[in-house]
Symmetry: C2
Subunit: 408 residues, 2 copies
């Protein structure tokens, strides 16, 4: 039995995105070289939802205010969310994923997509279980498994070795399933790399899950922000039995509605039932008035999503161009989402010190690769949902500091 | 090891407050007697936040809208909450409790007070631990302990046996501590009974906690709504070491801000640190824009709280008067909060069927006593934060149905 001290020692948030302020007095060990670089500060740890970058999708605040005006019926919804809104959202998600979703049994609203992820894992995983997790993948995945007293079985994603598929190591995945893993969690598009699993990869996951009786949790938070020429395959519609898959999404990213804390989980009815029981003790329900904002989801003005996608694609292209000028730096062009995950050339200082130097000297906040896999000690994650011009200049400052700290 | 199916079987929400709609097709076994009673429907499972009853405290919506306008800095706060708001709230909570609270180390904002309760327990309790819980007490307490794989050690509250104190069985509490319990959770004012622990009881809890090295989680959600002639003692200021106590509160009840989902936990710095790590994987943070509403907490217009308290006290007095006309019914006058927990005379049908009859025949929703203790099979809980006139008439309908179903 792990002591509670030991358990929480494994749940560190010091380098987690959004917590950089806690490092204000983190020393730099006197290793800083040269002078600070001038420029607009950019916080790449999360998207910029201000008007100068990507503000909330239209109609959100009005929907919230209307929800507040409705009063009690909007404040006190069923724990799984207001029925009338679940009907609406289920209809959209059915059309979006190509798999019918029953509003009354197969959908729950949660406080943010993080809430959905926690409920999905908590409903599926018991202490002592072994869970397959991709490396690299979303930083909270391994922490959730630890909190639940389960064990991580890592599966490699060779995202730099491919361009026609995500790079899932299917041999490792099957070996994990053979060894008794009963839950598999992965994000698609992948966070931090922005790669999209190919139709063949998704079909293989579905087939293996069926063969070994594995429940799959698909974190598809970024599945609406898919770039030109890219196909997206929903696991839920890829031939897997409905009771074996839970999909999680939310309007926090593409739609910039993070400040409302809204997410959804949908799929296997028996797991949604458990998720609601768990939500009853974790947070009761997604914020009542905020739930009203979900009524605007997938109902954005015509052309809004296409425009937003195009704007992100343009930023992506420019940032990749700047990064690719750096000798020894490797970066795969993201196919969806708003993350870039460049692998840096060898540096003279450790990764976390370089991240500190970026913050202190370049006024740029990035997330160290170690949050996503213990192996990616040479990579940084950037959320490029930012003001276009400021982001390009900030990445230019990053490349300057790479040169300054490059290993001789 | 409990299977995950068995674990969730213990976390039922069928009778939990707010979930009554899920019972729409629950049969009544043909036991219904007589005709429906006319009257305005009243949902006593939670407070009524509509304008006809107790609307949100003034300024809340404006503060939310201002938060949304601030954009990213309000959407993406530290996981423990925006620093500037923590400073403000810590100052108020220090004055309120009489115990200084450090904004940077001893306070966290959470999604609702339920979120605070989950984080407090999750930060304190490990699988296999034994936790002392009051019976009766808030319905989620035992479920939280179950989810965390720990064991409930019940301690009796003889709330009907006293009027000068809550009725805590100190012998049982000490026996629990002697037997190795290291965490004690209790609500003060007590939910569901509305009784307040006396200064002596609180002092005894503090003393025993010190003596046996027990961490105490004090759920003081209702501690601002205290009726005339009643004294309230904050455990945190009762001579217990700061590292032994976490207090949880929130603006959902007295202030009717439940639709924003806001709560706080404050106290022991090392537990707040863990709570933030846990929040990072459960929901990341309290809703960003909603956090701005906490800037209005404890800053309501002069006289607002006194008026609201007086209005609740008047409702309390009227409802108690109606209930006390029923022969064989016992109810203690609540000293704080907005709950009534009458013990009914013997009925000819089981409690859950009577609760169904109330819903179907009297259009009144109450919560069965079994949610709060397995022993209170003859009690119902009412949240009387309702429209005054409608509440009185609804309780009159309850008394009519008690007579209709009274055991011969």
């Amino acid at each position: 039995m792990t002591s509670i001290e030991a358990k929480f020692a494994q749940l560190g948030t010091d380098h987690a995105p959004g917590q950089e302020v806690r490092q204000a007095d983190r020393g730099t060990g006197g290793q800083l070289r040269g002078e600070p670089l001038a420029g607009t500060p950019v916080d790449f740890s999360h998207g910029d939802v201000n008007d100068s970058a990507f503000p909330p999708a239209p109609g959100a605040l009005d929907a919230f205010v209307a929800g507040e005006r409705r009063g009690g019926s909007q404040a006190y919804t069923e724990y799984r969310g207001a029925a009338v809104l679940r009907e609406k959202v289920a209809k959209h998600l059915s059309a979006f994923t190509g798999r019918p979703i029953a509003a009354d049994r197969e959908l729950i609203f949660t406080p943010g997509t993080q809430g959905a992820l926690f409920l999905a894992l908590g409903a599926t995983v018991n202490a002592g279980d072994r869970i397959a997790i991709i490396r690299p993948d979303y930083f909270a995945n391994r922490k959730l498994v630890t909190f639940l007293g389960a064990e991580v079985v890592p599966v490699r994603l060779d995202y730099l070795g491919h361009t026609d598929r995500a790079g899932l190591d299917l041999t490792e995945l099957e070996a994990a399933f053979t060894s008794g893993v009963k839950t598999f969690l992965f994000s698609n598009p992948n966070n931090p790399t922005g790669v999209v699993y190919s139709p063949d990869e998704v079909a293989a996951i579905a087939k293996l899950a069926e063969q070994y009786g594995v429940t799959v949790i698909a974190d598809q938070l970024y599945s609406r922000l898919v770039y030109s020429g890219q196909e997206f395959t929903h696991l839920a519609a890829a031939g897997i039995a409905p009771e074996r898959v839970l999909t999680i999404m939310g309007p926090s990213k593409t739609e910039s509605l993070s400040g409302y804390r809204l997410g959804v989980a949908f799929g296997a009815a028996h797991l949604i039932e458990r998720a609601e029981k768990l939500q009853a003790i974790v947070s009761l329900r997604a914020p009542g008035y905020s739930q009203a904002v979900l009524g605007t989801w997938f109902e954005e003005p015509k052309g809004w999503l296409a425009d937003r996608t195009k704007q992100h694609e343009a930023i992506r292209d420019d940032l990749v161009k700047v990064f690719r000028k750096v000798q020894g730096l490797t970066v795969r062009t993201p196919e969806a989402g708003s993350y870039l995950f460049p692998k840096l050339p060898a540096l003279a200082i450790p990764l976390h010190d370089f991240v500190t130097a970026l913050r202190v000297q370049a006024r740029v906040i990035v997330t160290p690769g170690t949050e996503f896999s213990p192996d990616t000690t040479d990579s940084i994650r950037l959320n490029f949902s930012q003001n276009h011009g400021a982001a390009v200049q900030a990445v230019e400052r990053i490349t300057q500091l790479i040169e300054r700290y490059r290993k001789a």
